[in-house]
């Protein structure tokens, strides 16, 4: 119960189908947690429920501290890059001068200092995702959720995102990452939550999961992936 995020018997039903069923876990501060599973396993759903965007049909979610969420396709407010970072700070009641300062520093940290005045919607995809990370980072979250943040990015942009993620993680945030990129899971992950058809079937350290998956579902998932 002391971790930053705890789910107890979470179940989510839509149109009579249980999309998540009996999911329970408690995450510790520390390692980056990677959520893996095939399409439709319930990964994005799990992240949204954990973040509070969706309410579970039953079960309990307990999360502590400030949270931030980075979507696969970030929503760019129709404002400048700097104002995009300032906006959530303003929502939290951060005073104008302070939020300008924090926003400017954070933009520098993600390498967008030069684009501060540019309209966010005219940035490249990679830059937009870096801006989304800056927006999350500026809030100094204790829990950072990311839903396939590099799924539509090229390798260079992906590397940049992973660098930023390492820095945010080094700053003490608990990072929970959904990804389809198994290389990325190995590079960044500390532990793995593996979902199969709405159930949490395996959990463990990232190396153990990849080298010695203990369930048939996880073995099939890894073989299917690596066989391509």
């Amino acid at each position: 119960m002391t971790g930053p995020l705890t789910l107890e018997a979470v179940r989510f039903v839509r149109s009579g189908r249980a999309l998540l069923d009996d999911v329970s876990f408690s995450l510790e501060r520390g390692p980056v947690t990677v959520v893996l599973g095939a399409n439709g396993a319930g990964k994005s759903l799990l992240l949204r429920i954990a973040h509070g965007l969706l309410r579970p049909t039953s079960g309990r979610v307990t999360a502590v501290g400030a949270q931030a969420f980075v979507f696969q396709r970030p929503v760019m407010l129709r404002r400048s890059a700097l104002q995009n970072v300032e906006y959530p700070l303003a929502v939290r009641g951060v005073e104008r001068r302070e939020r300008r300062r924090v926003a400017a520093t954070t933009l520098e940290r993600v390498g967008l200092g030069g684009a501060a005045a540019q309209s966010a919607r005219t940035l490249s995809v990679g830059e937009q995702q870096r801006l989304a990370l800056a927006r999350a980072w500026a809030l100094d979250p204790e829990l950072l959720f990311l839903d396939e943040p590099t799924a539509s990015l090229d390798p260079t942009a992906t590397t940049a995102i992973e660098e930023i993620l390492r820095s945010i993680h080094a700053g003490g945030a608990k990072v929970v990452l959904v990804t389809h990129d198994l290389g990325q899971a190995r590079r960044l992950g500390g532990d793995v939550l593996f979902l199969d058809r709405g159930r949490l079937v395996e959990r463990g350290a990232v190396d153990d999961f990849f080298d010695r998956p203990s369930t048939p579902a996880a073995r099939a998932f890894l073989e299917g992936r690596l066989g391509w």
Binding site: F69, V75, R78, P88, V91, T122, S152
Partner: protein
């Protein structure tokens, strides 16, 4: 035919030398319609946005009502405002009948439903895109309203211009509640109607030309703004 050509020539002459009577009428038209649209915007923008993002009992009824009000014939609005403001009406004590204020009220009633409906469309589309992100930031739908109005401004300004075009071109309502009194409540449309029936075609034509030009300018501005907004989202679409 010769008579008409003379009238056209005199109309242009009045425009060129800024005939005081013509200018006075144009300025009153602008004052009345701009004020009416400003008030309609103050009501219509927040209301339209609220209808787009908030879920409350009676929302659907309100949407149907607004859509119905959009199709109101101006003369009916004029009649209703006339009845309300006439000496024996509920607001008769205010003594507003046959004043520019009465015309502002009538135009406001005509334009507000249009602004509500157009705003609702714009904000609903934007909310579809923004909702998850804003909720992640901890923004409630109510608090999202100013954000959505601000970020939708490039699509909302054309709506305001459409409202202004409608207000300034309207004749039935302002005729009834304003009375078309010389130097007091005579605006472009009512003056055109009167001068035409009197046979003074020059002033009518001159005002007609101004009205036409004004609408061209309004529509061109709206079109440019829309293109600007589209280009921005197209670029964002490319990126995404």
């Amino acid at each position: 035919m010769g008579e008409i050509l003379t009238a056209v020539a005199r109309a242009f002459e009045m425009l060129v030398r800024l005939d005081p009577e013509l200018v006075e009428i144009v300025l009153l038209s602008l004052r009345v319609s701009l004020t009416a649209v400003a008030i309609a915007a103050a009501i219509g923008l927040p209301l339209g946005a609220a209808l787009a993002v908030l879920r409350f009992p009676g929302r659907r009824v309100l949407i149907v009502l607004v859509n119905a009000l959009m199709g109101l014939p101006p003369v009916v609005v004029g009649l209703a405002v006339y009845l309300a403001l006439s000496r024996s009406g509920p607001l008769g004590v205010l003594g507003l009948l046959f004043t520019p204020t009465a015309m502002i009220v009538a135009q406001c009633i005509l334009v507000t439903p249009i602004l509500v409906a157009l705003t609702r469309q714009v904000v609903e589309d934007l909310w579809l895109e923004y909702e998850e992100q804003l909720r992640s930031f901890g923004v409630t739908p109510r608090r999202a309203i100013p954000t959505l109005l601000r970020d939708g401004r490039r699509s909302l300004v054309p709506a305001l211009l459409a409202g202004l075009g409608r207000a300034i071109a309207e004749v039935g309502a302002v005729m009834i509640v304003g009375g078309n009194i010389d130097h007091v409540t005579r605006v472009m449309t009512t003056a055109i109607a009167l001068e035409t029936s009197k046979g003074d075609l020059a002033l009518a034509l001159g005002l007609g030309i101004v009205l036409l030009l004004l609408n061209v300018v309004l529509n061109a501005t709206a079109e440019l703004l829309k293109e600007w907004a589209d280009r921005d989202s197209a670029r964002a679409g490319e990126a995404a």
